[in-house]
């Protein structure tokens, strides 16, 4: 089966800056794919290039096996929700949602029918006659989603659609988004820098670094088996801890990587100096130093600052030259 979206050697350069660097990516049909990366790594540029607002310098984009690289956005059959929703301020909610259908040349009755249907599903049918400038953030986001969903395109791109909402609304909107994606059984490509969104939404996550895909996998994979030290550092609420191989009887060229959660403190062969501790809900996290390495360790008690704490590692990965060694 061909992939829904395939990017081959996609390169984008703005001025002197290489934003996308021979990027390769394949996204399957019906997948909720999250592109995760720190800001400034070309996430938005990637979406804009896929949808056709930006022309790539080189490389190809395939949708359902069809090369769309040279096509304008309106010929690509991809819809997109922009970060600021980009609702047309001169139109009502109804007109906003109807716009893509109007462009597709549908007649008035079927437009009305489809708009009402999608607006009912996303629970904004009561706002249809309002001007979009009067809506709340959450409502705007739903209108933008409706407008993207209503024409049933090959796939959807979403550029940090939740970043403009306040925390509480964001949480429910996230659940809603997941439900919608499953219900419509559509391919979503979702860009974010928020790990909790990646964790809760994605079937698969692609980590973007300097215009390249560093690792692809489920969030769990990225968390437990980060393929490089950079991913290990980026993923997770605390960066992964690294210590020298010989400390656990391994070769000198190897490093041992483990999460804060993968240790037991109070006993064990390893020792570190406590710098500080913090209480998160019911668990302590101990910031410790081992030589010149900084560690974060989960602990059931609060050790005194400056004291030595002993610990043992229950689970770990082995890294060589910054890359994981399969074991």
């Amino acid at each position: 089966m061909t992939a829904k979206l395939e990017l081959r050697n996609l390169t984008q350069i703005f001025g002197q800056k290489v934003v996308l660097d021979h990027l390769n990516l394949a996204i399957e049909d019906g997948e909720f794919f999250v592109i995760l990366g720190p800001s400034g790594t070309g996430k938005s540029t990637l979406l804009r290039t896929i949808v056709g607002i930006e022309r790539p310098v080189s490389g190809q984009i395939f949708v359902d096996g069809r090369d769309v690289t040279g096509l304008p956005p309106n010929k690509r059959d991809i819809s997109m929700v922009f970060q600021n929703y980009a609702l047309y301020p001169n139109m009502t909610v109804f007109q906003n949602i109807a716009f893509p259908l109007k462009m597709a040349g549908l007649d008035k009755n079927s437009i009305k029918e489809k708009v009402t249907e999608i607006a009912t599903k996303l629970n904004i049918v009561s706002e249809l006659d309002k001007n979009v400038t009067l809506l709340s953030g959450g409502q705007k986001q739903r209108v933008a989603l409706c407008r993207a969903l209503v024409r049933n395109p090959a796939m959807f791109l979403l550029d940090e659609p939740l970043s403009n909402l306040d925390a509480r609304v964001r949480y429910t909107a996230r659940e809603e988004l997941r439900k919608i994606q499953k219900e419509f059984d559509q391919t979503f490509v979702y860009v974010t820098h928020d790990q909790s969104e990646a964790q809760n939404l994605a079937d698969r996550v692609g980590v973007l670094r300097n215009g390249k895909v560093e690792q692809i996998g489920s969030y769990r994979d990225l968390y437990e088996k980060p393929s490089t030290k950079w991913v290990a550092d980026f993923i997770g609420e605390y960066p992964m801890n690294f210590i020298d191989g010989p400390l656990m009887g391994l070769d000198e060229s190897l490093e041992i990587g483990f999460r804060a959660y993968w240790v037991e403190t109070g006993s064990g062969d390893l020792e570190a100096t406590v710098m500080a501790s913090e209480l998160v809900h019911e668990t302590y996290f101990v910031y410790a130093k081992m030589g010149d390495r900084n560690l974060v360790l989960k602990s059931s008690f609060r050790p005194e600052n400056g004291s030595r704490v002993s610990f043992s590692v229950k689970k770990f990965n082995i890294y060589k030259d910054g890359k994981i060694v399969e074991n």
Binding site: V51, N74, S79, F82, A86, Y88, P89, N90, F99, P100
Partner: protein, 270 residues
């Protein structure tokens, strides 16, 4: 604080006198009997007596109706043309790098930096050849030289004030370039369109240099007015000048509502 306020009012007062006094003189000449104005070495500064006789005589002795109609037609042509060219030019410039766009806009204003006469004479020579001399279309085209840089500048400012993603969204939603322009971008720059139209209309309405050189045989209103003044018909001319100032004042009042900073300065903001 108070000193500053007094200073401000003083400046406003002086400016008002500079702009209003000529109008007041027109009013005096039009409505005060000739014996008190042109009949005196030092004409009265106050309406010592009022009469409608000057206006009535003016309508009997001179014909300014045809020049008025001509002026109206030309102004309409100029305003329409300046939109027809200013909108696409502004839209296009808003899509390219702002540094380059700004340079192009400055270059557009270059023609206006030269005295109108210098530009008008070669244009007149060319228009005689192609049959646009003594012709309303000819006047309109030449006046476009004055108007177009300004209208491009205003439209560029208008288009720059729209978030770029709206246009992108329209393209993603299936609109072609023209549809996106017509359905999304232009409706959002309606104030800029109105400003451009009115400003172009007003500029043409009282434009003199190009009008007198391109079309002396079919004069527009300002040109005919000038002819009457130089032919020693000053109070007929003043009466009509006063009448014709009225639409300009009304237009300016409408325009004021739309003269928000963003449409005029937007063009400069990178």
């Amino acid at each position: 604080m108070q000193v500053r306020e007094i200073g401000l009012y003083a400046v406003v007062f002086i400016l008002a006198v500079i702009f209003v006094y000529p109008l007041y003189v027109l009013f005096l000449i039009s409505f005060v009997p000739v014996t008190y104005t042109f009949g005196q070495i030092y004409p009265a500064q106050f309406p010592v007596a009022l009469t409608l006789q000057n206006i009535i005589t003016s309508f009997h002795t001179v014909s300014l109706v045809n020049p008025l109609i001509r002026s109206f037609e030309v102004a309409l042509m100029v305003a329409t043309l300046s939109l027809a060219m200013g909108i696409p030019a502004g839209y296009g410039l808003s899509k390219i790098k702002s540094g380059i766009a700004n340079i192009i806009v400055v270059l557009l204003f270059f023609v206006n930096m030269m005295p109108g006469i210098v530009v008008a004479i070669p244009i007149a020579a060319e228009f005689i050849r192609v049959g646009l001399y003594d012709n309303l279309v000819g006047i309109a085209l030449s006046q476009e030289l004055v108007v177009l840089p300004l209208s491009v500048f205003i439209m560029l400012g208008g288009f720059r004030s729209i978030p770029k993603d709206l246009d992108n969204q329209a393209r993603v939603d299936g609109a072609g370039l023209l549809t996106s322009l017509g359905r999304i971008s232009i409706p959002l720059v309606v104030p800029a369109v109105i400003v451009t139209f009115l400003l172009s209309w007003m500029t043409s309405w009282d434009e003199f240099t190009y009008a007198v050189i391109i079309s002396p045989g079919n004069p527009t209103f300002p040109v005919q007015l000038y002819n009457y003044v130089t032919r020693a018909l000053p109070y007929e001319a003043s009466a009509f000048a006063l009448i014709v100032t009225i639409p300009v004042i009304i237009l300016a009042a409408i325009l004021q509502k739309y003269l928000k900073g963003e449409y005029l300065t937007g063009g400069l903001v990178g």
